[in-house]
């Protein structure tokens, strides 16, 4: 109910929006039915190797397979993927939903030229997941950032501290319940 037109005065919006939206859930389940089926050898291979670990999987578009796994399996899945030449960890993004948190790992293979997005589902009350720093060194800063902004704790990370915000900052701003301060003017 926050806005009708994009031209509306922007003052109230930041305060209202975050309160409403946690009720929305599972935004990513529809599209796989609508889109044309895209065949991918790599995708089949991943499904074959990780059979019992995969909760759900689909292909969004060309070269973009998605898989959903349980949070506790992440280290094992990551090691398997590295064995399959998925050598470049492009990014880690934490996403908060109404009932759960997700840690999405975007992993690219330079030789196979596909980017698999691994979504690890973790609980919202206790957002903890294994660190992938032993697998990819690049995970270091990505995990620090996700911890800083999203509050996901990476177990086994060598140096998990805030990176973008100052040490005395309270809360994790990308959480949906983070209250934005009102503008002073």
């Amino acid at each position: 109910m926050a806005e009708e037109e994009p031209v509306e005065k922007p003052e109230e919006r930041p305060v209202e929006e975050p309160v409403e939206r946690p009720a929305v859930e599972k935004p990513e389940e529809e599209p796989k039915k609508e889109r044309p089926v895209i065949k991918s050898k790599v995708f089949d291979e991943i499904k074959e190797t990780l059979k019992d670990k995969i909760v759900d999987s689909w292909i969004m578009s060309e070269r973009r397979p998605f898989i959903i796994i349980k949070g506790e399996d992440i280290l094992e899945v990551a090691k398997t993927l590295v064995g399959m030449e998925f050598d470049h960890l492009s990014a880690i993004s934490g996403v908060e939903y109404g009932d759960r948190m997700e840690c999405a790992y975007h992993i690219w293979s330079y030789s196979k030229r596909e980017l698999v997005t691994v979504k690890a589902v973790i609980s919202k009350d206790n957002p903890e997941i294994d660190s992938l720093t032993p697998v990819w060194k690049s995970a270091d800063w990505h995990e620090r950032e996700t911890y800083d902004l999203m509050g996901i704790v990476f177990e086994g990370h060598p140096d998990l501290r805030r990176i973008l915000l100052s040490d005395d900052f309270k809360g994790h701003p990308l959480r949906k319940d983070f209250e934005l301060t009102e503008k002073p003017w």
Partner: protein
Amino acid sequence: MVEISKIQTGPNEMILNLGPQHPSTHGVCRLVLRTDGEKVLNIDPVIGYLHRGIEKLAENRTYIQFLPLTDRLDYVAAMGNNMPYAMAIEELMEVEVPERGEYIRVIMLELQRLASHLLFIGTFGADLGAWTVLMYGFRERERILDLLEMVSGGRLLYSYIYPGGVRYDLPEGFVEKCRKTLKELPKYFEDYNDYFYSNEIFLKRCEGVGVLKAEDAINLGITGPILRACGAPNDLRKDDPYSIYDQLDFKVITEKEGDTLARFNVRMGEIYESINIINQALDSLPEGDFRAKVPKVLKPPPGAVYTRTEAPRGELSIYLLSDGESKNPYRLKIRSPSFCNLSAFPFFAEGDILANVVANFAGIDIVLGDVDR
């Protein structure tokens, strides 16, 4: 953040702060160095001075309102930032961009790459004490900015690449002016070659500094010219083609050495390659629409997309989640090349002498707006 008083130092060791306001840090970045005489033992980059919370702002703005904010990520290559965002929206909404739109986009992206690399050459020289070339780099960059101003009206931040195509069609006389500029530029680049490669001090400060192997670079998440300088021919324009890059004929510039000089050479080579790409695109620029019809208020269907582009500094990706109900993005994550390249910086700069820290830092060509977001 780092508390200096808590860092353990051995005998003869010293803590040295480089920045946050230092001419060679390209913005507000602080490097906490633990040194033993001239030798740097440990580097801890402290970032976040320019953190504006752009990912959070995205959740509180409509899709179109957020477009100008993407300009402010890597503010010396703003066109390149609009691109993955526009692509993400198009992929979610299944919008087909008209061919002319794609051609104009590629021309703009490559002009931006030119401008960004020219700025790099200028600042790189300045960081190593070669101040003359700073003005050279800016002089030629100005010509490119004139072209970008002609199409978009802006000289630094454009918001020109728009979901569905580009914001305006090319103005009259642009193609001719662009061709003229591109024809004249290479003769100025000869000056750079003379200036750099006949300068022994410059070569001595770059050769063998910050050597990196390709396997390490990939594991560290390095992308862009730095990775190509290690001999890995990885360019997203070839590997994961977007827009019309798969229809164009261009080389991926690589070097074997993996040191700072190789990084410089790769960027010099890419300048010529960009000119080649723009000329090809200008030759086959089709007539027609420059933008597909998109609704004024965007409301993409639910879904998650990850779009990747080869920005001048490396891989710039956007992970966009839509819930299908709100007019705002549900979550937007930006993978910025500078952030990842900076995270790898300590690995190849540690153990070297202090003066080389500056050369190494200049060689990765970061922009702090891109690091801090």
